[in-house]
């Protein structure tokens, strides 16, 4: 199994929208937003099955999410994590004096992490902040 380097963007998906209105404490939120959408060609390079847990790492952090095949592709070299705490654990907080963090266009590397758990949304933020 290999490590791949991709360009990460985050954004809205309708499943994520439904999940936030249905309750962010529920596992459905993790199912909707604790994922990374990869192009089939990037899956081949990664050498992993679809729906495998992966660790995504940038200069700003690291998070475990489920890798799924994109439904809005092809977009080789580009990866998508729906907006939420999973994406925001690794995006670039630099605003370049505009007030806006760089939510899109963050270089990340993706490794298979088959045995690592994907945390629930609230749990993930609490853990990263050191709050019970």
């Amino acid at each position: 199994m290999a490590t791949i380097n991709v360009n990460l963007i985050s954004g809205r998906s309708i499943q994520q929208g439904v999940a936030i209105e249905g309750g962010k404490e529920k596992p459905a939120y993790r199912t909707a937003a604790g994922i990374i959408e990869l192009d089939p060609s990037d899956f081949k390079k990664l050498g992993a099955w679809k729906n495998t847990n992966v660790r995504v790492t940038s200069d700003h952090g690291s998070v475990v999410v489920k890798a799924i095949e994109t439904t809005q592709g092809p977009h080789p070299g580009l990866a998508f994590i729906p907006m939420g705490p999973w994406a925001n654990s690794i995006i670039d907080p630099n605003t370049y004096s505009t007030g806006m963090p760089t939510f899109k266009g963050v270089p990340v590397k993706v490794d298979v992490a088959i045995n690592e758990p994907i945390l629930l949304g609230i749990e993930l933020v609490q853990k990263l902040c050191g709050v019970k």
Partner: protein, 438 residues
């Protein structure tokens, strides 16, 4: 027996659909069915009825448990926190009504707070660009009736504004657009083949982060000047085809979203988009509009605008309003560790801010006013659940085209729950006493 409430406003996204029908029980206490809304709006209405909803304020205890307290105690904690802080931050406002925003601004003025809304992470950069070069815009009604060229640039309404296309931009049959979709050309610019792009007449799969280059290439193409073979991954023939398509319309509209506001270049991308619109007005009529996310983020900008003079990132610490994105904007304030009290209402920075900013407010006095359990409530010292705006209380809000619309109350909130506005009035009155401003 049940009764049906018609013409209900949906409080999810900036499209503010106003044709929902909601079935409620005869005593007005239970919400049973929602018609006409998208899947997200329906979920929002139905979730207000969930059995596991938190209905009283809760204090986070040192051992990680929560202790239930009264609204009066919650207001006291909030007022004390804001009054004592040197640089409190009051963030959110986008999922509440304009009346509550106005009360919040009073509190901010008395406590000399920094105030910001969710434009910080969505269209803040658009607001900077609008201040730079203006915004030739229109209303959604004009688009429905007139637009025959529709461009979605860096936005995916099929996912984020699910009924936008059926109500205003693609499918409706308007006065001059009698054939609906057949009378419009749809152009989508996105690095992914989004579900919106799949419907487009032309999809430009731009290289991520190269929007500025493509906007500029279009401006060159309008004038028929020389272009390199590829710009931002798009062949020049395609760019010229799209430029001609835009110029040949009778009325065009560019909708833009997070793809341009959050990618590198930021406000300069929007500058370029507005310049494209300006150029096109030499050939035909063109407008441009940001796809606002939260249902009342536009209203928050309006209320900040008429009360403080700036639409977001307002700093009142010196006793008068200052605005300097990068300095007075929420993410920068938090990441620099300047804030000593965090007040959140009608938004979820815990989930939607970079984690380095969240870490900063997880360890200072904090209040989260939100009907839901969220990552923000999970790291806040005090969580104050309130009635759902637009479901359990009415109030004014602004659609993405700056049209004010009054939301409707369709169902009673659970017994004894306050609305945002009622809770803020309690806090305001107490803050006035503490600061001797009464």
């Amino acid at each position: 027996m049940t009764k049906t409430v018609t013409d209900v406003i949906c409080p999810f996204c900036g499209t503010l659909c106003d044709d929902l029908e909601v079935v409620v029980s005869d005593d007005g206490k239970q919400l049973l069915e929602v018609y006409n809304a998208c899947v997200i709006g329906t979920e929002k209405f139905l979730h207000s009825q969930s059995k596991d909803r938190v209905t009283r304020p809760r204090m986070h205890q040192p051992d990680g448990t929560w202790k239930e307290i009264s609204y009066d105690e919650a207001a006291e904690y909030t007022a004390q926190m804001l009054a004592k802080a040197k640089k409190p931050l009051m963030f959110g406002w986008s999922s509440t009504n304009c009346e509550a925003q106005s009360v919040g601004n009073e509190i901010a003025e008395i406590t000399r707070a920094c105030c910001d809304n969710t434009a910080a992470t969505c269209h803040g950069t658009s607001l900077i660009a609008i201040q730079d070069i203006g915004l030739p815009s229109c209303t959604l009604g004009e688009i429905k009736n007139r637009a025959d060229r529709v461009i979605f640039w860096g936005c995916n309404p099929a996912h984020a504004h699910p009924r936008h296309m059926s109500r205003y931009s693609i499918f409706p049959r308007g006065f001059f657009t009698g054939k609906g979709q057949m009378s419009r050309k749809l152009i989508v610019v996105d690095p992914r083949v989004t579900d919106t792009a799949k419907m487009a007449d032309v999809h430009l799969q731009v290289e991520q982060g190269k929007d500025y280059e493509l906007f500029d290439a279009l401006r060159v193409a309008f004038k028929g000047e020389w272009l390199p073979d590829f710009v931002a991954g798009i062949p020049k023939e395609k760019i010229r085809e799209v430029a001609d398509m835009m110029k040949s319309g009778r009325f065009g509209i560019i909708f833009f979203g997070m793809g341009v506001t959050q990618s590198l270049g930021k406000n300069h991308n929007i500058d370029a988009a507005i310049a494209v619109t300006k150029d096109l007005n030499e050939y035909t009529k063109f407008s441009i509009m940001p796809m606002r996310g939260h249902y009342n983020v536009t209203g928050s900008g309006e209320v900040f605008g008429w009360q403080f003079g700036f639409p977001y990132a307002v700093d009142l610490t010196r006793g008068f309003a200052r605005y300097n994105p990068g300095d007075t904007s929420t993410i920068d304030l938090l990441v620099r560790g300047e804030v000593d009290a965090m007040f959140t209402i009608g938004s979820d920075p815990g989930a939607h801010f970079p984690i380095s900013a969240v870490k900063q407010f997880a360890h200072i006095p904090s209040v989260c006013i939100d009907p839901h359990l969220t990552p923000t409530s999970g790291v806040s010292k005090l969580h104050v659940p309130v009635a759902f705006n637009g479901v359990e209380c009415g109030g004014n809000c602004y659609r993405m085209d700056n049209v004010p619309i009054d939301c409707r109350k369709v169902v009673e909130p659970p017994e004894g729950m306050l609305t945002d506005e009622q809770f803020l009035i309690k806090v305001r009155d107490r803050v006035k006493q503490l600061k001797g401003a009464a």
